[in-house]
Amino acid sequence: MEAFTVHTGRAVPLRRSNVDTDQIIPAHWLKKVTRDGYEDGLFEAWRKDPSFVLNQEQYRGATVLVAGPDFGTGSSREHAAWALQNYGFKAVISSRFADIFRGNSLKNGLLTVVLPQDVVERLQTLVESGPATQVTVDLESRQVRAGSAAGEQLTADFDLDENARWRLLNGLDDISLTLQNESDIAAYEASRPAFKPRTIAA
């Protein structure tokens, strides 16, 4: 996994709640068997509308998505995180994320930042009035900072549990970390009751 420390880029406001993973990447894209090549599928249906925010010239090249509440609901498809990354997003900011989407994103180094809804809305307004605004997502200090040419400033601290932060900062591979405790797994396996189900004879 790619490490995430500090990222600065322009942001795009997505003023919609309950953006489900079917909207982020529609099911027909899930037939692919790779982890890349999903950028054209990102928000595919909405992008057909020329006025959709991602189609607006001033947000071209933005790398931070500032989304409405309950982002990433529904399907567990990790393709949603891949599509956002393939398109160029490094971080998503929302007041609420669906659990599975959030977990998938963090496992891929796409930082999901939870901020209070009023702060998210202030940030959206800031970006709408100044699309060139640079937004910094700083995982080291757990802080989001935004400033526009007009000088408006927004600084907000965010929470992320220490273990997840450490994995992200160092770009650590979960499987290798778990296998460092292989003896614990083996000990647990040896203690499982005989009545537990098996799919095939061991």
């Binding site: 529904g74 567990s76 998938n104 778990t178 189900p197 799919t199």
Partner: protein, 477 residues
């Protein structure tokens, strides 16, 4: 202090617990399908890793599979490649696979329980959010992403922070025309699509205890639509009776040991939930969705709500956008909404009880002119059982299409899709924009409501049908 059901099952699976780290949980059963596994197997190959526990892993094909002409090559080359990739991966790594055409093939969440693999007190994962279905057995079951699929394949464990617990208590008697689907749609409308975020839900109370296993699975299945990590129901005699004699259920002394353990899997009287929600079963009614998320629902007797009636700005905006997408207007009676497609099936409502329920309404009646009705059993076993009971004949005699098992129109990855602007009454779980096909509009309903809607051509419950108006004497029981 006592523990909840979820906490007991969690504690029994902790491989390693360390300060400042998520718990490392052992996984008893890992279900695989073609859509979320290819990149995980690629990861194993890249890392030079094997599947740690082939005896706790099983795969089937469901999302992409056609429901017609299954003996012919799959027309869509991309779908075909994905199924072939699963077959190659299972062969290479030694994973048990039930492919299209196999008698045990079907929707992954129907297959696990019917084989008896889903058991109380187990941890079950799958790269599919509706894994919550298996919680109906008192299993701790949750959907995972592809990175986690790879992690479980390689280690048979998952690092996870323990979610909070929420009790959803439903007391009393469900009215005669109210099903498990209506109950869970009402729960989601009450707590919202994010209401369960960070929680494991436990459904309890006298109304839940009276439900069959199929109904319990319908309820736990849609826990994810409330944003929950998992949903559970304490195992009881109904659970044990369902499991006894199934292919992978314990036998002999193992059965006795298992049941003795399973009986301990109840929330202690002095346990405390982090949140509690109460519903009165008697107040529930047939429920349908009008919007584009599963929380946007209302009793069938009501009308499409006015977005202006929402105090919360983001809910108001969501309702406005939903009505626009759905082509509905505020104040329109839900019963007046006409559909052109009815879908009965999916991991939510594709089990034998669901098919019986739909068939009992359809028997001797005809699907309305201009309405296409698809009945897609959840598995080959369900299909065979339905044929044995003559349900397939009831469906075809009424004008419905009787199809092969799979996920089908629930998510439209196969050819079963809505065309732009088409409207369905669907027993599936998601009414998201475009879920059943680009531009398609979905109303989530129970199998009974689906069948009554098919007959009348507009959203309806069986109570709206009279024997005089539609049922022919030949079909009367």
């Amino acid at each position: 202090m006592g523990r909840t059901l979820a906490e007991k099952v969690w504690d029994d699976h902790v491989v390693r617990r360390a300060e400042g780290e998520p718990d490392l949980l052992f996984i008893d059963l890992h279900l695989l399908h073609e859509v979320t596994s290819p990149q995980a197997f690629d990861g194993l190959r890249l890392g030079g890793r094997k599947v740690r526990r082939l005896d706790l892993t099983i795969a089937t094909e469901d999302h992409n599979t056609p429901t017609l002409d299954i003996d012919k090559p799959i027309a869509d080359p991309v779908s075909r490649t994905q199924l072939e990739t699963l077959r190659k991966n299972c062969a290479e790594f030694g994973v048990r696979l039930h492919p299209l055409g196999d008698v045990e093939q079907g929707v992954v969440h129907v297959v696990g329980p019917q084989l008896g693999l889903t058991q109380p007190g187990t941890t079950v994962v799958c790269g599919d959010s509706h894994t919550s279905t298996h919680g109906a057995f008192g299993a701790l079951a949750f959907g995972i992403g592809t990175s986690q699929v790879e992690h479980v394949l390689a280690t048979q464990t998952l690092p996870m922070a323990r979610p909070k617990t929420m009790a959803i208590t439903v007391e009393g008697e469900l009215p005669e025309d109210v099903t498990a689907k209506d109950l869970i749609l009402a729960v989601i409308a009450k707590i919202g699509t994010g209401g369960g975020q960070g929680y494991i839900l436990e459904y309890r109370g006298s109304a839940i205890e009276k439900l069959s296993m199929e109904s319990r699975m319908t309820i736990c299945n849609m826990s994810i639509e409330a944003g929950a990590r998992a949903g559970m129901i304490a195992p009881d005699e109904t659970t044990f009776a369902y499991l006894r004699g199934r292919a992978h259920a314990p036998e002999g002394a193992d059965w006795d040991d298992a049941v003795a353990y399973w009986r301990t899997l109840r929330t202690d009287d002095d346990a405390v939930f982090d949140a509690e929600v109460f519903l009165d079963a008697a107040e529930l009614a047939p429920f349908v969705t009008w919007g584009t998320n599963p929380g946007q629902g209302a009793p069938l007797s009501e009308s499409v709500p006015d977005p202006a009636s929402y105090d919360d700005a983001s809910q108001r905006l969501a309702a406005e956008k939903a009505l626009e997408y759905m082509g509905l207007s505020a104040g329109q009676a839900l019963r007046d909404i006409r559909v052109d497609t009815v879908f009965v099936g999916s991991c939510t409502n594709g089990r034998i009880e669901d098919l019986r329920s739909a068939a009992s309404v359809l028997e001797g009646r005809k699907v309305a002119d201009g309405v296409r009705m698809l009945v897609v059993p959840g598995s080959v076993r369900v299909a065979l059982q339905a044929v044995e009971e003559g349900l397939d004949k009831v469906f075809t005699a009424s004008g419905a299409e009787w199809r092969h098992a799979g996920c089908s129109m629930c998510l439209g990855m196969n050819p079963d899709q809505l065309a732009p602007g088409e409207r369905s009454a669907s027993t599936s779980n998601r009414n998201f924009e475009g879920r059943q096909g680009k531009g398609g509009r979905t109303h989530l309903v129970s199998p009974q409501v689906a069948a009554a809607t098919a007959v009348l051509g507009h959203l309806a419950s069986p109570a709206d049908l009279s024997d005089a108006d539609d049922r022919t004497p030949a079909g009367a029981r």
